[in-house]
Subunit: 350 residues, 2 copies
């Protein structure tokens, strides 16, 4: 798709950035690179800023969310910022009671498990998104020509947290609800789709140049379950962006078998985890889908020459797709040496 | 392969059982069925027996291990017992300090992370296996013509626990060691292979009619990593059984992309998790490998008609393989209503 510098949203500011060009299928001179969870615990400046600030408070305090979003861009010179937030934020803004318990993750006071629980969920008041809009606007003002990627969790992953009441290994309780009460499940996922979609729209309207929909736990589903009970809702989440000309990236962990179905929800770019090589992923997608990924986070602790060979291998395999944005195959592990990330950016750009 | 009732080990006792026949590629009149983790927390009689008995003590007390192994056979009339044990037992018997922390899993006092740590690992004294032999002998005496399946964790899964020091999400530290110190990794995995192999041999010599090697966490690996850094060691584990004519089953969670490579270690039967249908699995394996699986544990809480349709679907798809043993696609969740398991056995047998 040709870039239109007169587009009201992209306005030329980030439209010619390597990231947006690559997301649109073009091959810029240098391959763009950023890291999922680049804003976070691997950075000392992040840990410092978080002292005395609860995770969800940090997400909802515009100056903090913006500063945390900017930190990895300043330090690593990555090609994009990803908006600092949490998968549960749209639910919290819609009135669901949730806290992040350190070392555990989000914990919901009242898990959503019955038709009555789902019926009691309220829509997201557009006013509640004000701190998100403000944080994004502050961030893009500072970023200049570096694009900001908007962030949201996909309906299945958000619903899994809500049903389980927190993190879980196989999303067993959520998947049981999917079978047991398909109507309750569909209503819940539509609610999740709408709040995720509205959360993304708020970020795009405030200046995000692309969005990524994270379906972190989708790898616990069979393709049949995914296509029938999840994909329509993920599609609904992205449909909120109809009319906004921003690239849409989609990613899930352990989703090698689901790539084609996940692409089918209306994604422009597919993120790939570390389990399958990019050339295999590209083949599964028909060879014409821009890819993002897929350095193995386990390599971040490996000796320099091993890591360098891995980066080169990922770059080589990325040539099988029309375009490629380098990323990890999962989020940055908290114990990562940030200098290693900076070095990867230099390698990819060099 | 024709059954030989004159085999010194199978001796006709279990050689014509539906389970052993199906494992050998035959189709008995009724499809056999058992459940991974059938001996365990879903059973009230198990929870009663465990009061005041630590998990690993229960594994190493022959009367307890035997009784726990027998409980689900008595209750559900499944076609096999699976020896009640834990993946870490061979390491414990070789002198590694480990405890099972309720709600968390195995925790190692001293994780194995360096060449020196690995060099300090001692071989498994055959004498240490005495309680295992005794428990198995007691169990098979009681089981009569119902076969006992021997149990062991595969080298990668056991090594992951040892390196991480306990359970982990993506086996990140273990996989980093794999890249960082390939020699240390190989030595560690060989040690794990040998203790797992010896653990299986002890069970077979005491009367187990088949074995299952569990590579629970193998789904965190790419196929390339698996083939290069794991498969040779899994093969080594099974090579200890050379000379013992027992069917060897192999299983890992999330291993759809690895099925063919996992079969290549010398497995006779492949267990399949719930993520891919049995007909897809069979096709990937060339159509001539007996399969075990793959009811979705999430269905155990579904209404009867939904569960029944799922059982029928799994049975239908199992016809794509030369033979089929019904099982879950993962272990029995602790909160399972045991009556549901009994009902599944009736359905499969009926």
């Amino acid at each position: 798709m040709p870039l239109t510098s007169d587009h009201p949203l992209l306005d030329g500011r980030t439209g010619t950035s390597p990231l947006v060009r690559a997301y649109r299928g073009d091959r810029p001179e240098t391959t763009p690179v950023w890291f999922m969870r680049q804003a976070g615990r691997s950075l000392p400046e992040y840990r410092e800023l978080r002292v005395g600030n609860e995770m969800l408070d940090a997400c909802l305090t515009p100056s903090l969310a913006s500063e945390i979003t900017l930190q990895p861009v300043r330090r690593h010179h990555v090609d994009a910022a990803i908006f600092f937030s949490d998968i549960v934020i749209p639910a919290k803004l819609a009135g669901v009671e949730v806290a992040i318990v350190p070392g555990k993750g989000p914990v919901f006071a009242n898990p959503i498990r019955t038709a009555a629980d789902v019926a009691a969920l309220r829509p997201l008041d557009p006013e509640a998104l004000a701190p998100i809009r403000e944080a994004v606007a502050m961030t893009v003002a500072e970023l200049g020509s570096t694009p900001l990627i908007g962030f949201a969790g996909a309906p299945f992953t958000l619903a899994s947290y809500l049903v389980e009441g927190g993190p879980s290994k196989d999303q067993l309780r959520a998947r049981t609800l999917m079978y047991t009460e398909p109507q309750v499940w569909a209503t819940l996922l539509n609610w999740c789709a709408d709040i995720a979609g509205e959360f993304l729209v708020a970020q795009v309207e405030a200046g995000a140049s692309a969005v990524q929909l994270f379906d972190s736990w989708v790898g616990s589903l069979s393709e049949q379950q995914y296509v029938r009970r999840v994909a329509p809702h993920s599609k609904r989440a992205l449909s909120h962006l109809r009319g906004y000309d921003v690239p849409k990236v989609h990613f899930g962990v352990g989703s090698g078998e689901l790539l084609r179905a996940m692409h089918g929800i209306g994604a422009d770019v597919m993120g790939v985890d570390w389990r399958i090589p990019l050339d295999t992923a590209s083949e599964r997608l028909g060879g014409d889908v821009p890819l993002q990924g897929n350095l193995d986070p386990a390599l971040l602790g490996a000796p320099a020459h091993v890591l360098e060979a891995h980066v080169q291998d990922v770059l080589d395999r990325g040539l099988s797709a029309p375009s490629h944005v380098v990323n990890l195959g999962h989020g940055v592990p908290p114990e990562t040496d940030p200098d290693v990330l900076t070095r990867i950016v230099e390698l990819v750009h060099g």
